[in-house]
Amino acid sequence: MPVIATRGATVSYGGRAVVRGADLDVEPGEAVALMGANGSGKSTLVKAIVGLVPLASGSIELFGTPQRRFRAWRRVGYVPQRTGAASGVPATATEVVSQGRLAHRLLGLPSRRADRDAVGHSLAEVGLADHAHCAVDTLSGGQQQRVLIARALATEPEILIMDEPTVGVDAETQAALAAVIADRVDAGCAVLLVTHELGPLTDRLDRAVVLADGAVVHDGSPPRPVGEHADPAHEHMHPHPSPHPHPEPDAALPRLPFERPNDEPADDTWGVQ
């Protein structure tokens, strides 16, 4: 039984189809990347899977249950696409990560030891144990992103759905997160990762689904970087060499002397007579 199964999923915003008939399966324990250029509909498809945007047609099943009737959200860990974990009022990293345990708690009852342990453990897993009592708005962008990932981990999910978790995060943090996610994959957690670039996180993937213009154009082994892109030291910069790196002065044009001759008065520099 697949963890996620979408069949002909179509999502439209104001009559314009953003996702068109997408079929996507994620099996238990499988790590899948959902890739595509900006605007290809990958984030929208993920939002439809977690129920944040309605389907125009098609169907989505989570753990074999139609998504509309799915209630076991504690089996899903979700990292939304966003910048920052801060809100209008200060909150500590522990408080934000504790939100991940609410799916396990009964409304109005205090947290139990298992909840607090899971929160502490997830913070340690993303390397923020020392920052547990820091206000999230004082953390860096990469640290805030790690707080949001720790929140999803604290749910102890069977599938981790992450929407562009590494946008604007430095390379070291990306590598660190790759290790955290690899651990969860090894522990049997399925992963659905939305990304538009190949990076440390994509090394451990079993499969990649590529969307273009809302439709699935590739479903199979993850694309491998080729040529110079495969070089780990490759920088994502493309300096285009100029055809004339050092242009020679053109002898045919009149040369303007910029040094003022010693005998000329300063007023006459521009020769306005």
Binding site: P80, S87, P90, S98, R105, G108, S111, V126, G127
Partner: protein, 296 residues
């Protein structure tokens, strides 16, 4: 000081003090979530609607508190339905509440002209001469219910206010909690109108919270600190109001604003001093706290 204490030998002053303290305690408990949700003006909106509720009380000859409670709770339900189900932006809905609430209140008070406008004033800016003990106990019960609910539901409320989309994916009853938040705001507005008045009630929702959050790091501390600050501000305001014989709403809010300005100045001084004392600049870039597994 002896003057201040002797004032509270009057029974009306005891009633005024109790209702103000209840409001000072419960308003920031709700307000912290409204500030977190960036809905700080909703208290003003419901306060304006409540003016219509008071006028309905005048017109029908029932106690204004109950008609206000019914009107604001109904308005909060409509508001939440509008917010979640329609394309109307929150701004427009809020603007309609502002205009419609005041206009409705003035119109209905005009119809009930005999006991009209002079009376309305005490609901707009608060009054020390509250009704009898029964109303004070109703205020205390309402305030205690609000504060208790917010304290018990703090993690859930904070989750829906900080990141509603995440809360929905976590399977929380987001619609119900949103409705509960607006309804408790409505109750807070209704129990606050005697002490601070309907036009100023929003100040007690917001000021204590934004005052203490300049020094706090956690939501928990902000909530408890805000409640304590609200208690102090409301108590000091009622006392000052009695000494000077002015509407308590005005003194409570002025003391609150003064506290906010003073703490904001102090907080910025503290920050500047810390920067100066620390000779070296803080480290740029973020140290890597996770060990990267070395690849073979």
């Amino acid at each position: 000081m002896s003057l201040d204490l002797s004032l509270f030998e009057y029974e009306f002053m005891q009633r005024a003090l109790i209702s103000a303290l209840v409001v000072g305690l419960c308003a920031p408990a709700v307000g912290v979530f409204l500030v977190q949700k960036r809905l700080a003006l909703i208290g003003d909106g419901l306060g304006h609607i409540a003016i219509t509720g008071v006028a309905i009380g005048f017109l029908t000859g029932t106690a204004p508190m109950w008609t206000t409670l019914a009107t604001t709770v109904a308005a909060s339900i409509v508001m939440e339905l509008l917010r979640s189900h329609s394309k109307t932006s929150g701004d427009v809905a809020l603007a309609m509440m502002f205009y419609g609430g005041i206009a409705g209140g003035v119109y209905l008070t005009g119809i009930a002209s005999d006991k009209g406008v002079a009376n309305l004033h005490q609901f707009l800016f608060g009054s020390l001469l509250t009704a009898g003990w029964t109303e004070v106990w109703a205020i205390a019960a309402g305030g205690a219910a609000v504060a208790g609910l917010m304290l018990v539901l703090r993690p859930w409320m904070s989750a829906i206010c900080a990141d509603e989309q995440y809360a929905r994916v976590a399977g929380l009853p987001v619609a119900g909690l949103n409705l509960l938040l607006l309804m408790t705001t409505a109750v807070t507005v209704s129990v606050s109108m005697r002490a601070v008045g309907l036009l100023l009630v929003s100040a007690l929702l917001v000021i204590p919270v934004v005052t203490v959050q300049q020094f706090t790091r956690s939501l928990r501390a902000t909530m408890f600190g805000g409640m304590a600050a609200g208690l102090l501000i409301a108590g000091a305001g009622v006392t000052a109001s009695a000494v000077q014989d002015v509407p308590p709403g005005a003194t409570i809010v002025l003391i609150g604003v003064a506290c906010f300005v003073a703490t904001a100045a102090a907080a910025s001084l503290v920050r500047r001093a810390r920067r100066t004392w620390r000779r070296h600049p803080p480290p740029t870039g973020e140290p890597l706290e996770v060990e990267i597994p070395t690849k073979a």
